[in-house]
């Protein structure tokens, strides 16, 4: 450890406490000095789900660890609920809100049922505007195409704005393996990149981190003061560290929020202006576009721009809404249209409408399970309610447990700006996974027993009476154990004194 110039006498902090002075390897205390720090050490950030190859992700296990970190859980819950409330305020400020949702849903369903035609129109217009258009069947082909474009231009460094599609494609890892230096320019995404962690939310990628976590990441990677977790200081340090990378980058990349077939343009929404820096500073701009991002015309764009940020963050619009229709003078622009499972999803009768998603994250912000377990507990690119209906389309075995991370309260469906019936699709996935034998034994055995009971009214009533009586008297360890998922992280409600059936029998039974 290097000698700390502010403490010439001692030479470092052998036990990692930055406040302490040491002499001869021992902590030095005298006069009014404190022998231990008065403030507690920051709570350690709970990490996400443990991924073991293609084996099923245990979301509940990771959620348990998130809940066991109360400062993280409290901030996460409060922050996302605040976004939900801000969204509600915006919704109430617009009389035509429900009409806009219906329009958005209608436009998306129309486009998806005519997707081939709109893609061809989009491609033709973009080409006419001087843009090169590429098609990628899957993630690997996307990464190869982007790499080939960079190689053709001798580009070694790439700055980019946030894109869930490039996350889905694992592009950063691929580029690292071929010697391309990628720099994320969205603050949250940059934090996640520097911490070698996936984004935990589609809009606010580092929402699961406390400022002290960020201070630790930046201290280790950007050389900031590890004891300074002031948010302005952290953001400014990142701005200062990223700026030279932006100026020197060989190429820039953005995602795409909406692709307008009529004009062949892509629209990107950011609050930081980082997409505009990525696209406008280097000569070469590559945009990765999921094929479901198509909309027919500019008049439809108005509907989506009005809904997107209001649903996501509770602001009327993002700070920047950028329309890219062609390369700038002396520049070059490439579009990569990516399928990666989307055309197959289009053929899934119960799930195709999940392709309407505009990645606003409103369903995540409102979901009680998501808010209290963190996005990384899902162990997948997409988390929260929308994630648990999309992820199984990529791998039904690996993500087989995710559709059970829901209370089916329907709040996700109610806030969805494009009216995806999310909670119904969650339920449909459960049925589908049982059919495919992707549900673990304990859950299946419990469901089978429940089905038997529910099919036989007399047995059901007897069981209810016995259970209610038992719940009054059973010791805690019988109710709160691993086999009863409803006793985890919550108290089981007190049983009623009397069931409705027994009250009805006593008071109304036999009467006309």
């Amino acid at each position: 450890m290097s000698t700390d110039p502010s403490r010439p006498e001692e030479g470092g902090t052998p036990h990692g406490d930055p406040d302490a002075l040491y002499r001869d390897g021992r902590r030095l205390d005298h006069a009014e000095a404190a022998s231990t720090a008065l403030r507690p050490t920051p709570e350690k950030q709970p990490r996400g789900a443990i991924v073991r190859g293609g084996r099923p992700i245990d979301q509940a296990e990771a959620a348990e660890r998130f809940i066991a970190a109360p400062e993280h859980e409290r901030m996460h819950d409060a922050r996302l609920w605040d976004l939900r409330q801000k969204r509600d305020r915006e919704m109430h400020g617009i009389e035509e809100w429900e009409e806009l949702r219906a329009l958005a849903s209608g436009i998306k369903e129309h486009t998806l049922t005519h997707l081939d035609e709109y893609l061809e129109q989009f491609e033709a217009r973009a080409r006419a505007n001087g843009i090169e258009v590429h098609w990628a069947r899957d993630a690997a082909e996307h990464n190869h195409i982007v790499h080939a474009i960079l190689r053709d231009h001798g580009a070694k460094s790439l700055i980019k704005s946030k894109s869930m599609l490039t996350e889905e494609c694992g592009m950063r890892h691929y580029m690292a393996s071929v010697g391309i230096e990628v720099t994320e320019t969205d603050l949250g995404e940059r934090i996640q990149q520097l911490d070698d962690e996936d984004p935990s939310h589609v809009v606010v990628p580092a929402v699961h981190k406390l400022r002290t976590d960020v201070a630790e990441v930046f201290a280790n990677t950007l050389g900031t003061d590890p004891n300074n977790s002031d948010v302005h200081y952290l953001a400014e340090s990142q701005r200062g560290a990223t700026r030279p990378l932006i100026l020197e980058a060989d190429a820039g990349m953005t995602g795409c929020n909406f692709a307008v077939a009529e004009t062949g343009s892509v629209v990107v929404c950011t609050n930081e202006g980082n997409a505009d820096l990525s696209a406008n500073v280097p000569k070469l701009h590559i945009a990765s576009i999921g094929i479901e991002k198509l909309i027919p015309r500019l008049e439809h764009l108005a509907v989506f721009v009005r809904l997107l940020s209001r649903s996501a963050l509770g602001s009327p619009i993002t700070q920047y809404t950028s329309h890219f229709r062609g390369p700038r003078q002396g520049g070059e622009m490439h579009f990569v249209l990516v399928d990666n499972g989307r055309s197959a999803r289009l053929g899934m009768e119960e799930f195709w409408t999940s392709l309407k998603c505009i990645r606003c994250g409103a369903c995540m912000n409102t979901c009680p399970v998501y808010r209290r377990s963190g996005g990384l507990s899902y162990g997948a690119t997409y988390s929260g309610p929308i994630g648990i209906i999309i992820d199984p389309t990529f791998n039904a075995h690996k993500y087989s447990r995710l559709p059970f991370a829901s209370t089916l309260n329907g709040s996700c469906t109610n806030v969805c700006p494009v009216k995806i019936n999310i909670h119904e699709q969650i339920y449909a996935w459960r049925r589908e996974l049982v059919k495919r034998h992707e549900v673990p034994f304990v859950k299946k055995a419990a469901m089978k027993a429940a089905a038997e009971l529910l099919a036989h009214p007399t047995a059901y009533r007897a069981a209810v009476n016995v259970t209610n009586a038992a719940l009054e008297h059973l010791p805690r360890f019988v109710i709160y154990n691993g086999l009863n998922a409803w006793g985890k992280q919550r108290e089981v409600p007190h049983p009623p004194k009397e069931t409705f059936y027994s009250w009805y029998q006593a008071n109304r039974g036999g009467k006309p």
């Binding site: 922050r79 009389e95 035509e96 009409e99 219906a102 329009l103 209608g106 436009i107 369903e109 129309h110 998806l112 049922t113 081939d116 990628a136 069947r137 082909e141 320019t185 603050l187 949250g188 934090i191 606010v204 990628p205 580092a206 400022r211 948010v231 952290l234 953001a235 400014e236 700026r243 004009t263 343009s265 609050n271 930081e272 202006g273 980082n274 505009d276 820096l277 406008n280 500073v281 008049e299 764009l301 108005a302 009005r306 009327p316 619009i317 993002t318 700070q319 920047y320 809404t321 950028s322 329309h323 890219f324 229709r325 062609g326 700038r328 399928d339 055309s343 197959a344 289009l346 053929g347």
Partner: protein, 204 residues
């Protein structure tokens, strides 16, 4: 078969065979207020932008001149004000990295959101709107539309290669929801309402 053909073939095979006509989008402009400028000011302020009230008499550009005087390097793309960094002589975006203050004129503004549209013609070099530390935008109050439905009728989106709605300054709340101005782009955005000719674009 090429990837293109394969993807299109898969879509044709899988797309739901359902009647889903394209809905017509109304303009939702029945409730437009009498003063679009007042609404614009309120919306802009809400989004963290500054509205520069023109002085009651005298030089309408006075609030901008004050800021120009306080800045070291000023890059102007408008004829009304001269800077000391000539955008016409700037070779590459990187040469704008040290600009303190940029001054541009917007194609038009949107009252509903407090946005100004800056196209490649307004910016001359697109990067000036993002690399400068601070941005001042001149906006002709006659070039205001009520909402985004009206905004997307404008010609810029069909004619320009680049056009961007700026609504307040570059901002982030990615750490614990704490609001920061100047995330990666400009630290402040101020709009001065003043008549003048926009570089391009026209109402529908």
């Amino acid at each position: 078969m090429s990837s293109r053909e394969e993807i299109l073939a898969a879509i044709r095979a899988n797309r739901p065979k359902l009647e889903r006509p394209l809905p017509a989008v109304p303009h939702f402009d029945a409730a437009a207020p009498s003063s679009l400028l007042a609404m614009f000011k309120e919306s802009l302020t809400r989004m963290g932008g500054q509205f520069l009230d023109p002085p009651a008499s005298g030089d309408p550009l006075a609030p901008v001149r004050e800021r120009v005087a306080a800045a070291r390097i000023v890059c102007s793309t408008v004829p009304e004000l001269a800077g000391n960094r000539d955008i016409g002589a700037v070779g590459s975006p990187q040469d704008l990295a040290d600009v303190d203050l940029a001054i541009v004129r917007a194609s038009f503004g949107v009252a509903e959101t407090g946005s100004v549209l800056l196209s490649d013609r307004d910016l001359k070099l697109n990067a000036v709107g993002y690399l400068a530390q601070h941005l001042i935008v001149l906006l002709d109050p006659a070039h205001l539309v009520f909402n985004l439905h009206q905004a997307y009728q404008r010609s810029e989106f069909r004619e320009r290669h680049y056009a961007c709605f700026h609504t307040g300054p570059s901002a982030t709340a990615d750490i614990e929801g704490v609001l920061i101005h100047g995330a990666q782009g400009v630290r402040s955005l101020a709009v001065l309402p003043i008549a003048g000719k926009a570089a391009g674009g026209r109402p529908p």
